[in-house]
């Protein structure tokens, strides 16, 4: 007896088997002649500079955190959405309160600017005024960025 979730598992296995089968088929046909410079990491044809696993923008972490809160919220909303018609106004208002608390947090995050991505801040080189040096026409606001 295979349940409905068993059939889902069969789908996952079929997906995996298809990938394995495709790779096996290609393995039978393809050549294999590796040498060190073929196996270097691609970096526009140059020798790679430094390691990839360096520190990256902290924003990705913030986005993941905010996502987590919203996603948990949505997970709670889903079972409610199926049955709320039968539960009447009480369950509906209860869920509005729950949503309201999240929306307050959302407004806070928005106001704090955590939903904004860091804008690039171009460094404007400062030149001494002199012959041959073009005067940069930037307003004060632009220079401050």
């Amino acid at each position: 007896m295979i349940t409905e979730f068993g059939r889902v598992l069969i789908f996952l296995i079929v997906g995996g088997v298809f990938v394995a089968g495709g790779l096996l088929f290609a393995w039978l046909l393809r050549p294999n002649r590796p040498y060190p410079s073929k196996l270097t990491t691609y970096e526009c044809g140059e020798v790679p500079v430094g390691d990839t696993r360096v520190r990256f923008n902290i924003r990705f972490y913030v986005v993941a955190l905010i996502f987590l809160i919203f996603d948990v919220e949505v997970v709670f909303l889903f079972p409610w959405a199926v049955v709320y018609k039968n539960l009447g106004w009480f369950a509906f208002i209860e869920m509005l309160v729950f949503l309201g608390i999240l929306l307050v947090g959302y407004a806070y995050v928005w106001r704090k600017g955590d939903l904004d991505w860091d804008k690039p801040s171009p460094k404007v080189p400062s030149y001494e005024k002199g012959i041959g040096v073009r005067e940069t026409h930037l307003t004060e606001e632009e220079t401050a960025v």
């Binding site: 990938v19 393809r30 196996l39 691609y42 990256f56 889903f78 106004w89 928005w110």
Partner: protein
């Protein structure tokens, strides 16, 4: 279809395995020809002809030739890469996007698995793809791959919330997660489709779903994870040969999966637009694939119409435009259903 096959073969496991191969029969040729189709559409939009020679008629065999070439390509795993994760990533990405097809009803007679939480399952299983993408980017140990994967993950998780909320609005009207049941609720003429129900809330919801699903599958204008001009090819820069082909295939499989969900939720799935006219299991398949292909065409059309968004604009659209509207849709639908019943 299930009962018929069980009568024929008398073996449940064999029948379910056969049924699990059915979407593959659609997805693989679809991916092959969608690539060719995309090239032809882009060419005609730019007043070119596109591929014309391979296969004779308008270069129809171009992508077939491409796949034959990719099969013969040498498989290169960079020496700096994390070998195990590098090999594992395509499995996760493809199995994740293919498993979503388990709950998609292609016709009244065929659905891979009739689980009663179908929609919820689709949302959760498609999140596995993100893990696969991050794994591919990290394992490649390539700067382009790493940036592509990080951007991709940030984008997919950000747009998953509007997608989930738009789906939630439909669930609130339908009262079920079962995709077959949702289809049955929309039977009749096209004004029974959820697109036109609870107007304008679900109409706005469908637009939110479509825009956010474009971001979910990394299509233009949300294709910054794979921006060719800045990141080479994003997370699959280091993948070549068959591994690349499989990653590419799962992207097209994902494209059709989100289109199929949009079709089921808002355009009545396998229902004929004209009531009883041309309805039935086989015509159902025709309507379902037709509506899905229409979404695919719109995705391709947008790709050659809109420029790419910047990363801060992307976050702006997701968090500050789609999410407030999605919340408004959910609350609006809730009040409507509660007041009118």
């Amino acid at each position: 279809m299930k009962e018929f096959l069980i009568d024929l073969l008398h073996n449940e496991a064999l029948v379910y395995t056969l049924m699990a191969f059915v979407p593959l029969v659609w997805v693989v040729p679809f991916a092959l020809f969608a690539v060719w189709w995309e090239r032809k559409i882009s060419a005609h939009m730019q007043d070119r002809l596109g591929p014309m020679r391979t296969g004779g008629y308008h270069g129809w065999a171009q992508t077939v030739a491409d796949i034959l070439k990719l099969i013969q390509k040498e498989d290169i795993i960079p020496s700096a890469a994390d070998r195990k994760l590098f090999i594992l990533a395509p499995y996760l990405v493809f199995a994740g996007s293919y498993a979503a097809y388990a709950a998609i009803p292609f016709s009244a007679a065929y659905v891979g698995s009739g689980i009663n939480i179908g929609l919820f399952y689709v949302i959760s299983i498609s999140s596995i793809v993100v893990v696969g993408l991050l794994m591919a980017g990290w394992a490649s140990n390539n700067k382009w791959s790493m940036f592509g994967a990080l951007r991709s993950a940030a984008q997919i998780v950000s747009y998953e919330i509007p997608v989930a909320l738009a789906i939630l609005a439909v669930v609130m009207v339908a009262g079920t997660f079962d995709l077959q049941e949702i289809n049955r609720l929309q039977t009749g003429w096209f004004w029974n489709w959820f697109l036109f129900q609870k107007f304008p809330f679900l109409f706005v919801g469908s637009i939110i779903y479509f825009v956010a699903s474009l971001a979910e599958v990394n299509r233009t204008p949300f294709d910054i994870p794979e921006a060719e001009s800045e990141l080479v090819a994003g997370y699959h820069t280091e993948y070549g040969g068959m591994r690349f082909a499989l990653l590419f295939l799962s992207e097209y499989a994902n494209m059709f999966a989100v289109s199929a969900i949009a079709t089921t939720l808002f355009l009545g799935g396998w229902n004929s637009p004209f009531g009883e006219f041309l309805s039935g299991p086989f015509w159902g398949l025709f309507w379902f694939l037709g509506k899905g292909m229409m979404f695919i065409f719109v995705q391709m059309w947008l790709r050659w119409t809109l420029p790419r968004l910047r990363v801060d604009q992307l976050m702006y659209v997701g968090w500050k435009v789609l999410i407030p509207f999605a919340f408004a849709v959910v609350i609006g639908v809730g009040f409507w259903v509660m007041a009118v019943r």
